[in-house]
Symmetry: C2
Subunit: 330 residues, 2 copies
Amino acid sequence: MKRLLNETDQILNESLLGFSAAHNEIVSYNPEPRFIFRKGGATKGKVSLISGGGSGHEPLHAGFVGKGMLDAACPGEVFTSPTPDQMQSAAKIVDGGAGILYIVKNYSGDVMNFEIASEMLEQPNKTILTNDDVAVEDSSFTTGRRGVAGTLIVEKVVGAAAEKGLDLNICHAIGVKVNSQTRSMGVALTSCTVPAVGKPTFEISENEIEMGIGIHGEPGRKRVALAPADSIAKEMTEAILDDLKPARGSQVLLFINGFGGTPSMELYLMYNSVAKILGEQGVTIGRSLVGNYVTSLEMNGCSITLTTLDEEISGYWDAPVHTASLRWKC
Amino acid sequence: MKRLLNETDQILNESLLGFSAAHNEIVSYNPEPRFIFRKGGATKGKVSLISGGGSGHEPLHAGFVGKGMLDAACPGEVFTSPTPDQMQSAAKIVDGGAGILYIVKNYSGDVMNFEIASEMLEQPNKTILTNDDVAVEDSSFTTGRRGVAGTLIVEKVVGAAAEKGLDLNICHAIGVKVNSQTRSMGVALTSCTVPAVGKPTFEISENEIEMGIGIHGEPGRKRVALAPADSIAKEMTEAILDDLKPARGSQVLLFINGFGGTPSMELYLMYNSVAKILGEQGVTIGRSLVGNYVTSLEMNGCSITLTTLDEEISGYWDAPVHTASLRWKC
């Protein structure tokens, strides 16, 4: 394993020191217990959005802390859930008096730790579970579907609703709605290597890909032979469309997400492949996002996410955002 | 070689189709001869900025076409110079009547092709050559230093000056100035693989890194043993500082650039390492940029770029920009 690091057990801390210094006009870093929060702390009268999860998926979640998205992000060790003390300390700092809304990817460890945090919290609070991955129904880490790249879309949409001053119940309802209209599926060409483990999470040959890969390198639907991009895109997009069932003529947000080691050129090539398929199905692309946003360290591969759009969701998507990794109209 | 592609000779076209569709509010694509240009074409009365070079470095340059940066980008095949007909056709489309300014990375092929384009052009035109790489003085592809990640900074600064309505000579002078205040150096942990070649550009063992790597995977200063991030950062930063010689107390822009296959976590860890060294040297970080912006396909590694700042350059850096890959205040 070749990595740009000093001591393995210091990667996360040193990386967050760098992150918070590079973006010190947007965020601050609390090292113990560990969380990233908006510079200046709480926004009075606003519902406070807190997310978190294992590290290794950057820029998710810390890269989405800032105006228009999250108030705080609680990173666990690589691919390991954060602990409730992180969420509780973060909630104290960012509490604007309108309640706390947790956004949690559906993995057993995350769900448990955020549940404990929720129970310990005195403030009114609610939780949105994201579960957009159509690849597998249950897994060793989940009951039900996994939360993957669609989590970014939920964080953006709910972040805009909270910024507008909507109350806790309404923000929660909007989050549940956008999650229910969002589906994803991934494919891996290579494995990732967890620094503390030092060897690839899985073995895969030079001619194989893992269809339906999870964002921790956990198994997907099947191991198949490498195929042309168009046919990989077709299989993934059809799996998503079969489940999402958008009406002919409906508008979607198309998000092509790289897992960290995929060249930009290939992500846009995949965008082109998926766009052709959507066109054939009479589905219109209303909004687009392409890039390495919900990663698995240095894994090569990508996921496709579709969200069906309506005026409400498009409006929140377009609303100003000023974070380290998503920024517009600010 | 595992890649998300259909036919190797269609990668570039399919990728640019995807790119221009995903960002169709910002750019348009002319497939023959090939270039990306601002949606709507020329901006009347404004100096027109055209860049280009071999593909495989995305988002450079097409990702920086838009308000506040480039007017057009001419991509060659992977790691291959574009041809003069591309620059000439692009110049016709984006000519705003105030002259054409070419921004060219210092590689013999690019220099020659842009020179021919310049000679063929009837409009007044000038060229800025970027040559920020301190690693090697001459190479098989260059006379003098290579132009690498600092090119992004030149494009941003000159783009803002042109947007402000400054004339061709002044925009050219600002570009020459910011290039002269910019230095970079890179390190590679793995090679990249050119799709049409199908095997890694160079061999490198599990315990080695290439110090001073070029953005095409061409040799740097030396092949050395993998070392802690702090010591890699120290060697690179000192090489840059020895050459740039910023005064104690001066302000710099620090840009940590990933080569395409480097996890975000490690780029921020490197930022932290470099920030410590700059602090010891009495150099203040006034602006920051961290991410995969000037890549070498899927190469794992990074470069460090420093630009000494003054009020003029900071002002142009902060000015509004609306491109696919850099966006603020728009």
